[in-house]
């Protein structure tokens, strides 16, 4: 690992002013569970490291029936996984966390760090997109709130200015008659998914017609991938096997997944369809159970 200068701000304000002074030469570290792996390989060699793990004001979760869930960016994966409120209101988040790496990693790694790492194979990103979550970014010029879908620019690249920090993930309440599910393909539990899919499906309780769908896939593109053409196929129809197959085909036509030691492009494309269908089917079952 290359040497770096190390800073430990205690508050968001302090961190932002520090980042403003250091400009492009600084990198933020939180739990560092993904970042240190890159730094050890010298794939990432920051001049200055700003450690915000100790900024305790960003470690919180607040739930409000009307506004939804506000997750402070330094909340650990374990806290989310074990939270009774999450289990009750957003069970998909607890399910997703159960498959994120191992206990030790979840105990130290933070949800905000994971999102900002911009890993296209990451699980939280696709689930947050399916949940229509927003991200609050605070910087020297004030704060802005963007949709989580718009945050990802390229592999390991996100829309974060040099003096900005992700402070909060805002998850709206799950609408009525809606089911949400996450499925991923792993050789071993906790692996980074070879592919993954998160789906939110809303149905009309009397007709069973799909009224809204939001589906995102991991590790099939350079960023988390929103399957918009597949959503168009589903909305307005009663989802049956034929419709589901048609939607999976539409999704598959839009992706060109990476090819690596874990799977060829062709294999990923085939598995993306399988896991897309599994996630949508599970979300649909859950929507039906609620309505």
């Amino acid at each position: 690992m290359k040497d770096f200068e190390y800073f430990v701000p205690k508050t968001v304000k302090e961190a932002i002013s520090l980042l403003g002074k250091l400009k492009e030469d600084a990198k933020i570290i939180a739990g560092g569970q993904s970042m240190l792996v890159l730094m050890k390989q010298n794939m990432l060699t920051p001049e200055n490291l700003v450690d915000i793990k100790g900024v305790t004001e960003l470690d919180y979760m607040n739930y409000d029936k009307g506004k939804g869930l506000m997750i402070g960016s330094l909340t650990t994966h374990s806290t989310i996984e074990k939270s009774p409120i999450i289990k009750k209101q957003y069970p998909v988040l607890a399910e997703m966390e159960d498959n994120v790496a191992a206990v030790q990693t979840r105990n130290y790694g933070t949800i905000g760090g994971n999102v900002c790492h911009g890993e296209p194979a990451g699980d939280p990103s696709v689930v947050f997109i399916a949940l229509n979550a927003k991200l609050k970014l605070v910087g020297g010029k004030g704060e802005r709130v963007i949709s989580s879908e718009d945050f990802y620019k390229d592999t390991l690249e996100v829309d974060l200015k040099p003096d900005e920090i992700l402070t909060e993930i805002q998850v709206p309440p799950i609408p009525p008659n809606t089911g949400v599910a996450h499925e991923k393909l792993m050789f071993q539990k906790g692996d980074l998914g070879i592919v993954g899919a998160a789906a939110s499906v809303t149905i009309n309780p009397s007709s069973g017609v799909c009224e809204a769908a939001c589906i995102a896939l991991s590790n099939v593109a350079s960023t988390p991938f929103r399957a918009k053409s597949a959503e168009k196929v589903l909305v307005g129809k009663v989802i049956n096997d034929k419709v589901l197959e048609e939607a999976a085909e539409a999704m598959s036509a839009d992706i060109s997944p990476p090819s690596d030691v874990h799977g060829s492009e062709e294999y990923r494309k085939a598995m993306a369809k399988v896991f897309f269908k599994r996630a949508v089917t599970k979300a649909l079952e859950r929507a039906k159970a609620k309505s």
């Binding site: 690992m1 040497d3 770096f4 730094m39 191992a102 206990v103």
Partner: protein, 161 residues
Amino acid sequence: MKGEPKDLKFTVNGKTVELKVKPKALLLDVLRNDLKLTGTRTGCEVSACGACTVNLDGKAVRACSILALQANGHDVVTIEGVADGDKLHPIQQAMVDHGAIECGFCTSGMVLSARALLAENPKPTIEDIKKAIQGNLCADSGYVKYIEAIQMAAAKMRGGE
């Protein structure tokens, strides 16, 4: 100056430790090289094997994936701090009694993962135990004995021999 050592003050196995470390030093390196606590193993060093597991503020974490300076002001327990003097911790004793230890390389990590589990959940199910040691790889594949030993330790710690 870049890379210049900084002050680190934290608790290790109940004792306050103060030293200067380079910002890039990993917690694992400081425990093993500076503090000579070599019971914490250097395994894969990429957060995959769990051999370097220690307890940080009571929770299982990987010492290879945390900067030493991130432990500043925190409480770390390594395998050297688990026993009560010469008396083995019930988890250690159960592993010895049950023959759970084969080559022993993963054992310290297993003990620290189990210790964090039992502190939070005194009556874990087999599934709970499997989940707690999911991130601790055993090259001898001796998982069954470890799981049983942790169950035995849990029973003993609850007071029912």
